[in-house]
Symmetry: C2
Subunit: 360 residues, 2 copies
DNA sequence: CTGTTAGCGCGTTCAG
DNA sequence: CTGAACGCGCTAACAG
């Protein structure tokens, strides 16, 4: 039975050490101007009583304002990154009593140098912490070195570059999630022997590293467990819907018997909606991310399974981590893999309603 | 670009309304002793500026201690309820700056009247809020009416009795989770036509309502999608391991061809370990809850899938909700279904590492 | 090097 | 009915 034990305060420590609160505060914050004798005495008592500061009182007294900054790929409402952004905004609201604000900037993923340009502009606001998605490795690297000179902590989100050691990382283990997807697809396919992978190509390259890594994990599983599986790939171009339509028409004319497909990006709805338009009800599709259009397809039956990576929670957690690090001075975990969740028509409702911190 | 806009304080409101902070405080808390004129004026400005109090400053100033209480079924370390308890303890630590403490009490699920007896004892500590799992409907009902007379808010965890309208509920939608389990099992079984359901019987009845509801959901799906499936049931008695061994021996002697099984309680490991002992590698098993022994079976391959219901998070969230309600005066959601997550050897690691708030 | 003190935003007296 | 004043635990400026 936990007794409501009295919390130890700075005042108590000071009394026990025979010094004033000012001195205790100085050793707590490692500031100079304390004699070795006092420091030792205070530190001993601090440790002995396991002093835990009241961080809310601390934040209140310090009366500082914090500016967090975030650099994200350009996006429209309803796309993947908009969920990340929503999560951050929710966290900013939830922790508003800490006097935090968020400066957002966007960059064009496909214009070389735009990441750096937007990043510089963001730095003008002299943020206390920064969140970025390191989609472009080279530009990220030079940006990070800039941050280092300013001593600004940074968090990576969605994908990771460990060697640039960020304060922490939030995102899925892409390869493992592709591996898991393959296990599910393998069950779904029962005895079928043919499968198609739909890729999204933007500006001549795969939209993201994540997409690539998932595909690799998928192949790994299938090589191990289904060596005789026949896998086709179809390249699509999100910005050219008419052309995509023709590509799909041609593919399914050529291979009318293929009943299973997967996409490793968030645009599974493009395929699902195609199937709906063409009344193809015998096609089974898997994809990523709970965009509204994907969820609609799931409900209509044109997508069988979606793997979620909780972008909203990623956004929320990254803001929370900045608070924990900068304001509450808590230890934070460096690598935070998001769970690999499988969603189907049978469990989607409970997933969506589960957390207001991660509504999508 | 969000400007770090100044937060409105009580002082500001007072100034604008031409009154003192004391008066503003009185209208904020609906206390008496304010003229109609002042009240209206203040309320208008409050609404206009959308005043949001700094709850940390508020909690600090009020300098109150809160006692939360929780009544759980008796359990050993490693069992389901121990995860719930761990989540609560973690939350108590995380929110210790709010001056909260937790009084725990346990009851014997199978001794009539013990729930009420332990409950009464808990009330002697005059808790400010209470968390219970309403496993025994009749006793819960009479206990709740007692709480009502004291005006103590209560939260239900794991299973729900909506008509006793608790402050809120955390738990899984048991029937839907059984339905989902059936969908997965159906895929896993491929073309197989036989299946066995293992039940845990304690003191002559099914261990929990949850177990029953899951089974119902499971049947519903199978009736709809696999009408010709042949389902066996085997009743086991956790407290009589020797007897259970014989029951299983006899069952598999009689039906050696059955390759698929499921349990709707947290003791799937009992079956998994049986299979390991007997070298039966062709049996495919599903179960519930990430107890360590279940996870071990998953890793060894004697369990194929586990459905998680995040007991640690349930515990954590229920404490968090009491804080939000009693201290931070936030609105809280009445019904919080936990997501229905499917875990396999391919995604378990990332699930386990995901949140420190829900390590199991 | 050290102690004292005035706040941070809010809750709660206590005079008037 | 209202305002002023003090304190919650902590920070930081200032005086010595």
């Amino acid at each position: 039975m936990d007794k409501p034990e009295e919390r130890i305060r700075i005042k108590d420590i000071a009394q026990l050490a025979g010094v004033s609160v000012g001195t205790v505060d100085r050793v707590l914050h490692g500031r100079s101007g304390v004699s070795e004798k006092s420091r030792e005495k205070v530190e001993k008592i601090l440790k002995k009583l396991d002093y835990q500061p009241n961080m809310y009182a601390s934040a209140l007294a310090s009366n500082k304002k914090y500016v967090f900054a975030c650099l994200l790929p350009q996006h429209s409402e309803g796309e993947y990154w908009s969920y990340v952004e929503n999560g951050m905004k929710q966290a900013i609201k939830d922790f508003s009593d800490f006097n935090i604000s968020l400066a957002l900037a966007y960059y064009d993923q496909y214009t070389l140098g735009d990441f750096l340009k937007s990043g510089k502009k963001l730095l003008e606001q002299s943020p206390d912490g920064l969140i970025i998605s390191p989609t472009i490795e080279s530009e990220t690297e030079s940006f990070i070195s800039e941050l280092r000179t300013h001593g600004i902590p940074y968090i990576f989100i969605d994908s990771n570059i460990p060697k640039l050691n960020p304060l922490c990382f939030y995102g899925q283990h892409a390869e493992q999630s592709g591996y898991f997807a393959a296990r599910m697809m393998s069950m779904l396919m029962q005895g079928a022997t043919e499968l198609v992978i739909f890729r999204q190509i933007s500006e001549g390259r795969l939209g993201s590293n994540q997409q690539l890594h998932r595909e690799e994990g998928f192949y790994t599983y299938m090589k191990e467990h289904r060596p005789n599986l026949n896998m086709f790939t179809v390249n699509l171009y999100a910005k050219l819907p008419d052309e995509d339509e023709t590509i799909l028409d041609n593919f399914f004319k050529k291979y009318p018997g293929i009943q299973y497909g997967i996409t490793f990006n968030s645009k599974a709805y493009a395929i699902g909606e195609y199937m709906e338009r063409h009344g193809k009800k015998d096609f089974h599709l898997m994809g990523y991310d709970l965009l509204q259009r994907n969820v609609d397809c799931l409900r209509k039956g044109s997508i069988d399974f979606i793997i979620a990576q909780q972008p909203t929670l990623q956004g929320y957690s990254s803001i929370e981590s900045l608070c924990n690090h900068l304001i509450l001075k808590k230890e934070i975990k460096a690598c935070n893999y998001m769970p690999i969740n499988l969603l189907s028509i049978e469990n989607i409702d409970f997933y969506l309603s589960a957390h207001r911190k991660d509504n999508h």
